[in-house]
Symmetry: C2
Amino acid sequence: MRIGTLTIVGVGLIGGSIGLAARRRGLAGRVIGVGRQPATLERARQLGAIDEACLDLADAVRRADVAVFCTPVTLIAEQVRAAAPGCAAGTLLTDAGSTKGSIVRALDGHLPPGVSFVGSHPLAGSEKRGPEHADADLFQGRVTVVTPAPGTDRAAVERTVAFWQALDSRVLLMGPEEHDRALAMTSHLPHLVASALAGILPPELRELTASGFRDTTRVAAGDPSLWTGIFLQNRAALIDSLGILQEQVNQFQTALQAGDPAAIDALLARGKRSRDALGN
Amino acid sequence: MRIGTLTIVGVGLIGGSIGLAARRRGLAGRVIGVGRQPATLERARQLGAIDEACLDLADAVRRADVAVFCTPVTLIAEQVRAAAPGCAAGTLLTDAGSTKGSIVRALDGHLPPGVSFVGSHPLAGSEKRGPEHADADLFQGRVTVVTPAPGTDRAAVERTVAFWQALDSRVLLMGPEEHDRALAMTSHLPHLVASALAGILPPELRELTASGFRDTTRVAAGDPSLWTGIFLQNRAALIDSLGILQEQVNQFQTALQAGDPAAIDALLARGKRSRDALGN
């Protein structure tokens, strides 16, 4: 794959990493970064994540062959709808948002002829923010889920797959709703639980935490406003996943109240088998 | 501090690290490792964690000036009671167990004159096991909680504090029950939650997990039988902590059901503030 101009909207950790990865691999002739804050754009340029900084969303997207929206999930659909009318036929628009159903639904049937939006979600990142934490190999060996709507142009889907593969990501195709149900369990629920656990820690017990508490709550350091948007866009699936977790926690509670070693051991063994299957 | 003979009962990750740390720092003239499996003891000897391997608990503890019990919490009290009668007056017995109340209560008033048991809990370790994962600097800068009973000999408490400090640990003194209430929140509850979360992950979603799920569930890889013992010895405090977590999770659930962004943001912000205060 070879892209003339790649526009990245939002040059934080993910957008910056896309820029670094694309430039390192010679994927695009030119990488334009779009943002609201000149200082962030300038840092991204100095770090080598983009060739050119641009404050005008519509202008930068109009010049793109491929544009990737790496902004908060609550902004993606409206930004795409604002920028798409200026695009030439054949322009591919995609994103890196953690939810897909709401975004794909909001855009389906609302783009100019020949302009395609194909939802994407690279399963990479961390609780850190900003282009300083960008990494040219962030996507290497990681999964990116690409989520076409039923009517999405096939060639556009194939280009989206090729784009992420060119960044060394492994691509899975999935429906947007299927993606959201899966990620409720694998990402949004762990975030909720980590945040709840961090939230109840009395300050005077901080010095009694070790790596167990720190690992279990690490993602709670993520940006609350970003995650509020994710939770709300996926709230039905998140509520369902939370119900499943609560049933499992209730089993622990019952076993503890009964002082039943075999039941506790069986629950812990189930958790261990599943965790061991993930590797590090 | 200088110890003639240091005996370590159980030479896994913790016991092996105590041996490595003590030998590296010249803390003891001789380090004896006790275990049931000759192969593990031999590995610990080859790794430099002990000078001498011994299969006879009572014999190895009788020869000790200081003995540290690094066995599962369900075994510690009975092993101490079995070994103590052979000890000379002035022998210090301590442990590295994750629970303290049950162990300290079981030993209080049951030791020969002049032999002291002082409970300890170094907040270090991981889900890994075995002397292969031992580390001479495991305790460096980490907290060890020392939990004397009201009647424990003061000189013995001071020696216990000096022992952990000599391994470069930072020591906090706390009552055994106070320790258990704190650790229910900072260690045992996170373990329960991580295990429950890992346990409900459907196998087909494994490839859709990223660092968030992996961090949040990492401790679930710990040994189920060890943790069953810990949960049962601290079950009252763990049930209390679980109740506090469930209230916090219920607030998330209510906010999600109401689709209330301000409430979700406030809950996530509370978690972030607390997690940020812990550092990495």
